[in-house]
Structures are given as C-alpha cells and as structure tokens.
C-alpha cells in the first residue's frame, strides 16, 4: 500500500527506483475507490489524467531527472476545489459553479508541476471556504476518518481527511481563518498556513483577500517543509506576494531546539477548552521544555475581540469578492425579466445559506451609515491584534496554543447556531488577521471515542523555519503522528 507512505519516504523510494509514480498514484486511486464513499473527501477525480502525469514522471526519472532538480517528481498531491487546475472542474463546493472548468493553472499548481508533482483530484470543502465543519459544502459534507459521524473540520476538510485516510500523499488547502490548521487538527495530520504574502494567491478563488493564504496538509512536518519550499515565492501575478528569499526549509529541521523560546498566551487557556485537549497541550508543553525550549507566559490582550473582528473584515471582503458570481460570465444563470432580477435569482439559487449569511453581513457592515462603526473599527482592532503578536514575538520565537478548543464534533451538532460555530475558530483566526504563520500537528487523542488533538505553533512573519523546526523536533520525539484511523480496514 504505497499510498500509506509519507512524502519523504515516497521520494526516497522513487529516487532509488524501488517504486514508480504510476504504482503509488494507482494505490491512491484504489484507496479513493475503497474509502471515499464513506468519507466524501473528493468531489471528483480524473484518474486518467493523474495516471498520465505519473507516467510522464516515471519517464522523466528514467531519462535521468532527479529529485534534486524536481523535489516532488512523481508525488501525488490532491487539490482543494478552490484552486484552479487547467481543464479540471472547480466548484468551490458551490452549486453556482457546479459545471465550471478552470481555463488556467493557479500559480501554486504551476509550481507543483514545475517541481514534478502529480496534481490530481478535487477536494471537498465548505462552500467558498466559508465554514468550520464542511457541512456547508453544496455536495454534502466530508466525514472524519476517525469517526464518520463527526465533522472533519473546515473549510479544507477534504484536504485533511484525504491525507489522513491515505487517499493522497499530501494536499493543498486554503486558510483564511484556520481552514487548513483546524481540519488538520481534527483529522490528525500536519497543516501549515504560511505567512501572508509567502505563497501566491493567483488562481485561488478569493474569499477574503487580505486574509487568504494557500497552505498544505501532510503526514509529517518534513513533508510540509518540502511542499512549502515548492509553493513559496514572489509571483508577478499576485502583487501581495513578498520579495523575501525562499529558504531551504528542510535545512531548518535539525532536531535542535535548545534556546528557542515558546510563549503560552494566558488568554488562550480559558473557559470552553475541552479537558482532554487541555491535558494534551500541557503534556506537549512539558515535552518542548524537555527538548530544551524555554517556555514563558505571554499576553495577547485583544484575543477576545478576534472573532468579532474577523467576521466583520472577512465578510466585508467576501461581499465584494463574491459579487463576480452574477450569472453573466460563468457559472449558474437563472433568467429574470431584467439584469437585477437575473442577478438576485442566480445568487439566491446558487449560493448556500452560509454564503448568503456572510455576504449579507459583509454588505451591511460596509453600507452607508455603518461603515465607520463596524468595518473601520474592526480594521483598527485588527491593528491592535497584530501589534499584540508583534510585541509577544519580541520575547519569544513561537506561540504555542491548542489548534481547536474541542475535538471533532458531531455532524449536525452546531449547524443551527452559526455564532457557536464561529466561536470554535478562536485559536486560529488571529494568525490571519496578524498575517503571521502557523502550523498544526498531532499532540494526542481523546480516550473514547478516539479522536485526534492538534497543537498549534505560530511564528513571526516569514519565520516558517522556526515553527517547522519546533514542530519537527516535537514530532520526532513523540508517536502521535504514527497513529492511523481504521477507515477501510473494516471491509
């Protein structure tokens, strides 16, 4: 079962010619056939195209192309359905784009291809990346590989579930308020959100442009480091990408973390935190101290305002970004007697309820008479949240928190109360407002039922090397990442 290999293990075996890209790609496709009727991580998968890419990768290896030149040569990477892949469908989990075919590759896809990856599959997600549970997918939710009655997290639920269920070697997702880190925590894999500007957003369908960032889900920290290096860099097609050079991220994985300082924000260990999550995080803190890191308390005084700030800024940006879905140039069109009626009917029929809720909220906070009270005030509080982090990073190299306050909840448990759903993003949302980087990795399991628990490390802007180094040292000193769900074994 080559699909169970980590990215790093697979690359070693491909280099030694012990396995072929065709064989591992076929094993991923077989695993999708075996388990995806239960999981629903994939909206679609073009097997023929995947195998053709794998064959080309094998031919390249035969012709002498090495993994030094193309670090992902022959590695099957699955893609969230919000990232454009030329001639493949892209629905963003929405009925309004149900028959859309991307006319071009996103920059991250071009970069994956340049690195030799087999780019395949369309991973299920909350509609337009709006959601924390995957229940907002117009095509039905993804299920958690550890317990299929539970949510996988969102919005990149398909990206995390597919990695954990070995349906792919790694995957791309997008993270606007925790959408890579939160499902990674709830499904039990590594989820990385790069600093804002590190990775191009060209070809990522925009939800909230000042917060969106492409991230990845992987089985190991080292795998995420390899992917980040392939994805990062300035892009003339995204003016928000930064000119900072791209480090050789795997070189940072020395296992040595002595002298690094980790901050624990006192505002995060508060009410609503599940007892087993708290226990796991406290044990992880001890482990980091044992490995030689210095752990100190820090304060992020505006933490309590992050969710309110996010839901003003993100919805305001979404209301503008999603104006493009009007039934004129692409997607669903519902006819009307005049253009205004056509727009309203198209959007009324095409969008799901969460997307409508957020567009309407965003329209309201930007509307005449409310702009200063809501949007401008939120932008000012955003400044305060950001400076909280920058001040804390004067004292510490990374900030450690739980990724989520609770383990995966049941499907349907929070759908009636969107505000409660929003509150579950408390630990991840600030990183996007501040533009910093963050990673989630496994740090334990609840007892009964057995569900993954994730820990989050947040780092200074463009200090991905530091959080990867810390995460890798912790991972290598624990065994949580080796646990596998039993999905597919029962049959």
């Amino acid at each position: 079962m080559l699909n169970q290999l980590t990215l790093t293990e697979l690359v070693e075996r491909l280099e030694d010619r012990q396995v072929s890209s065709c064989a591992v790609t076929q094993d991923c496709l077989d695993q999708i056939k075996r388990v995806d009727s239960e999981l629903h991580a994939f909206l679609s998968c073009d097997s023929e195209d995947a195998l053709a890419q794998a064959k080309a990768a094998d031919q390249a290896m035969t012709a002498g192309v090495t993994h030094r030149e193309k670090p992902l040569l022959g590695v099957p990477v699955a893609i969230k359905d919000i990232i454009a892949v030329r001639n493949q469908p892209m629905s963003c989990g929405s009925r309004i784009l149900h028959d859309y075919l991307s006319p071009y590759d996103a920059t991250v896809i071009s970069r994956l291809r340049a690195a030799g990856a087999v780019v395949f599959g369309r991973l299920n997600m909350d509609e337009f990346a709006m959601g924390s549970s995957n229940e907002n997918s117009a095509f039905g939710p993804v299920r958690n590989p550890w317990d299929t009655t539970r949510i996988p997290g969102g919005s990149s639920g398909g990206s995390a579930a597919a990695v954990v269920a070995d349906e792919c070697i790694a995957s791309l997702g997008s993270d606007t308020g925790g959408s890579v880190r939160q499902p990674a925590a709830l499904c039990g894999c590594v989820g990385l959100k790069p600093s804002y500007g590190r990775v191009s957003r060209y070809g990522l369908v925009a939800y909230a442009s000042s917060l969106d960032q492409v991230g990845c889900c992987a089985k190991r920290v080292r795998d995420a480091a390899v992917l980040l290096e392939a994805l990062s860099g300035m892009d003339p097609r995204d003016s928000t990408t930064v000119p900072q050079p791209v480090p050789h991220y795997t070189s940072a994985l020395t296992g040595e973390i002595k002298g690094l300082r980790i901050g624990l924000p006192k505002e995060y260990m508060v009410g609503g935190l599940d007892a087993e999550v708290e226990t796991a995080i406290k044990a992880a803190v001890k482990q980091f101290a044992k490995l030689g890191a210095t752990v100190v308390d820090v304060s992020l005084p505006h933490t309590d305002y992050a969710i309110a700030t996010y839901y003003i800024i993100a919805t305001a940006e979404a209301s503008a970004n999603l104006a493009r879905f009007d039934g004129i140039r692409y997607g669903l069109r519902v006819e009307g007697s005049d253009p205004a009626e056509l727009y309203s009917r198209t959007r009324g029929d095409g969008f799901g309820v969460e997307v409508k809720r957020r567009i309407i909220l965003g329209t309201y906070v930007l509307s005449s008479g409310y702009y200063d009270a809501y949007y401008l005030r939120a932008q000012k509080v955003r400044t305060l949240i950001r400076s909280d982090f920058l001040k804390a990073f004067e004292q510490v190299d990374a900030i450690l928190t739980p990724t989520t306050p609770t383990p995966a909840f049941r499907i349907g448990e929070k759908t009636g109360d969107p505000l409660q759903m929003y509150l579950s993003d408390i630990f991840t949302i600030s990183a996007n407002l501040a533009g910093i980087c963050g990673i989630s990795l496994p740090c334990g399991f609840t007892r009964d039922p057995k569900l993954p628990i994730g820990l989050q490390l947040q780092g200074k802007p463009f200090a991905e090397e530091t959080i990867l180094r810390l995460a890798h040292a912790y991972e290598q000193s624990t065994t949580w990442h080796k646990e596998r769900p039993r999905i597919g074994e029962r049959k």
């Binding site: 028959d99 006319p103 305002y305 309203s344 005030r377």
Partner: protein, 94 residues
C-alpha cells in the same frame, strides 16, 4: 452601533433573493451575530491606524507590455450564454 438590520434592504443591495424561510432564519441569526460583534465597542481605538493588509506593498507594477492571456474561446468557455464571441446578457437599455 445598532443591532437592527433591515434584511430585505441589505439582501437587495447584495443582489440575493431570499425565500421567506431564509428571511426568518437569517434575520434572527444575523441579530445574534451583530449582538456579538457589539463587543468591539469596548475597545479603545482612539489614535489607532486601521490595518487593511498585514504587509502592505505599494506601487507593484510591471512593464506595460503585451503578454499572453486567455483566448476569446477560453474566456467564453464557461459562459451561460454567448453569441458572436461575446457574453450574452439580458437587455439593459430600452
């Protein structure tokens, strides 16, 4: 700040038609959410500059040279209706 929202008016601004059921559910949910958002009033923001982007970059331009882009056929591939190489839309001006 007021937590009152004229849902029909805002939905019309956003060009989203809502069913009666959606109106009643969204109305009460948005009231809750706006009530929660009220807490931002507690924060002293006097003298604080707004943040629109975490790392603002300015004057990012490229040379004004023609570059390859989508062909007409590719641009129209996803159009709900097209004719003569153009997007077809309902009549706007009488």
């Amino acid at each position: 700040m007021s937590s009152e929202i004229d849902l029909r008016y805002v939905a019309q601004l956003a060009r989203i038609s809502l069913s009666e059921e959606e109106e009643s559910v969204l109305g009460s949910q948005l009231k809750d959410i706006l009530g929660y958002i009220e807490k931002l009033k507690e924060v002293d923001v006097a003298g604080v500059e707004p943040t629109a982007h975490a790392f603002p970059q300015t004057n990012i331009t490229r040379r004004d040279e023609e570059q390859p882009s989508l062909s007409n056929a590719e641009a129209l591939k996803n159009a709900p209706a097209d004719a003569n190489g153009l997007f077809l839309v309902p009549k706007i001006v009488e």
